[in-house]
Symmetry: C2
Subunit: 316 residues, 2 copies
């Protein structure tokens, strides 16, 4: 049964790859990893009502389910190759499935990502994607390499997705389309991650919120971080629709941005910003790695402030 | 957040493997496929109330979530290596998670299977496991190689899981423990699948029911199959508790058995049965591959009977 639906989705992403010996249609896919490469593997689940609001368009769900996973590969500096899609849905509604497939394919196709397997089951709407990408041994971007004195940087702009979620509650969300788009169609920073290989000392994607995710780098690297909220990159849509205090809270703790937060030796920050401007997202220096533990958000008066939200925790 | 729970589960399955360069704790795992091997990858989801009854013990859920996936690797003749676990659950209840981890680990440990990644989310209880195993190029067991004249065989016994599900409705299911155990703790036929490499012409695992799954071999191989219900292997527990007609219906269409159904050249059937007896499950010849399409169940009088259930289809 699963093949009918998963094969239907695969047809939208019809990518021929030499490294896929056997695709959808048997008990398992069979693939070959190119000589000299290692495999980065990640899995993420989206649940309706938790990770996207009920009523989200099927194509947006399909896009986002893949995007959050490609973002994990981006944070490793890996090159996307294959995905498997496990889809639990209340009913086999063809328009919904085709919409989901269309959104998934829109994002998959530019990366020549092949859908090699999947499963469909009946139940509450839940989408789990497993992605595989290639890395060169020893070159994956880890969370554990940040050093005292490194610059802390982020790609793109922060807080837009959280602001977009807030705007969905407005009677007319149309004026906020740019923010809602960032919520529904996040852009995984794959090219940026690849550009950071051999340069960044640590990297993470911003899925739970900047403070929470930079905190992961601090924990794994055994360091602390200070960030200056005045430096946080905010989009023009954010600046148009929100006061500065709200914009900073969204940027610090909003989550769902899928930008990369990374560290580089301080003397490389300008060069990296220029490199990432060339791949389209740019990068902004927002702070530095210090001795200690945890993330301090400076208040501009020599002290620290506590972000209003501690980051996204499904079980909090 | 996911690391706390997934790491907690991983500790139950603490397997050191040279091919895992980076396990749980970063944005993705990094692994290396040994030279000369290909990778078989499968994903399967279990949903509470669909794939296991509400009230199933956490340890049984953990076991089964891995078992149904290892069964897919078994059907390819692959050697299990790594798994990722995506767990959606209504609340972060430690006893439940520890139970689930214990069941998962009981099955994973003998295979030295490493849990390399995962995700935990809040929502209705759903478990998706992605498994990876090694195969030798060109030697994976496919569904597509059955030839006219081949013998059709199955490992173990059929129908027990479906009978066990029926028994759960009894006021006192204790006398049926052996059948319920087959429902809750299926044994993936990993060693059997490996023993069939280079011998079986086609192979599938029996998850949806014999007729449905053998039908997949027929479709992919462009052949038909005839099976003789009198030959279907039934367990002593089944024969003790059920009339022959019910036992045959369970065996034909029950699903959830996770035995292997495979085809071999007819003159190899006895040798294969002896080989699989040595790996503990045995194998029984139940029919043959014929010209045509689809699965015919013979009625013992020169005609064919229609199974009472067409097999498991979540969306039927």
């Amino acid at each position: 049964m699963e093949f009918d639906l998963i094969e239907r989705i695969r047809r939208h992403t019809d990518v021929a790859r030499d490294d896929v010996a056997l695709g959808i249609g048997d008990d398992a896919a069979v693939v070959a990893v190119p000589a000299g490469r290692e495999l980065a593997i990640a899995v993420d689940t989206l649940v309706e009502g938790v990770h996207f609001p009920k009523g989200t368009a099927a194509a947006d769900i399909g896009w986002k389910a893949l995007a959050v996973n490609l973002s994990d590969l981006a944070a490793m500096g890996a090159t996307p190759a294959w995905a498997l899609l496990a889809l639990t849905l209340p009913a086999a509604e063809e328009p919904f499935i085709d919409g989901l497939a269309r959104g998934f394919a829109e994002l998959a196709t530019p990366y020549r990502l092949a859908l090699i397997g999947g499963d469909t089951t009946r139940g509450p709407l839940t989408i789990t994607v497993t992605v595989h990408g290639f890395t060169t041994p020893g070159q994956a971007l880890l969370r554990s390499g940040a050093r005292v004195g490194d610059a802390v940087m982020v790609t793109g702009t922060l807080g837009d997705a959280a602001a977009g979620l807030r705007c969905l509650a407005e009677a007319d969300p149309a004026p906020y389309a740019a923010l809602v788009e960032r919520l529904n169609r996040p852009t995984p920073r794959v090219a940026a991650g690849q550009a950071l290989r051999g340069i960044a000392t640590a990297c993470v994607d911003v899925s739970d919120g900047l403070v929470a995710d930079l905190g992961h780098i601090c924990t794994r690297s055994g360091v602390g971080a200070e960030i200056d909220p005045a430096l946080l990159p905010r989009s023009s849509a954010m600046l148009t629709h929100f006061h500065d205090a709200d914009a900073i809270d969204f940027a610090l703790a909003g989550g769902d941005d899928y930008e990369l937060c990374f560290t580089v030796p301080a003397d490389k920050a300008s060069e990296v910003a220029a490199d990432l401007a060339r791949v389209g997202c740019g990068a902004t220096r927002i702070g530095r790695i210090v001795e200690g533990a945890g993330v301090r958000v400076l208040d501009g008066a020599g002290g620290a402030r506590v972000p209003r939200r501690a980051g996204w925790n499904h079980f909090a």
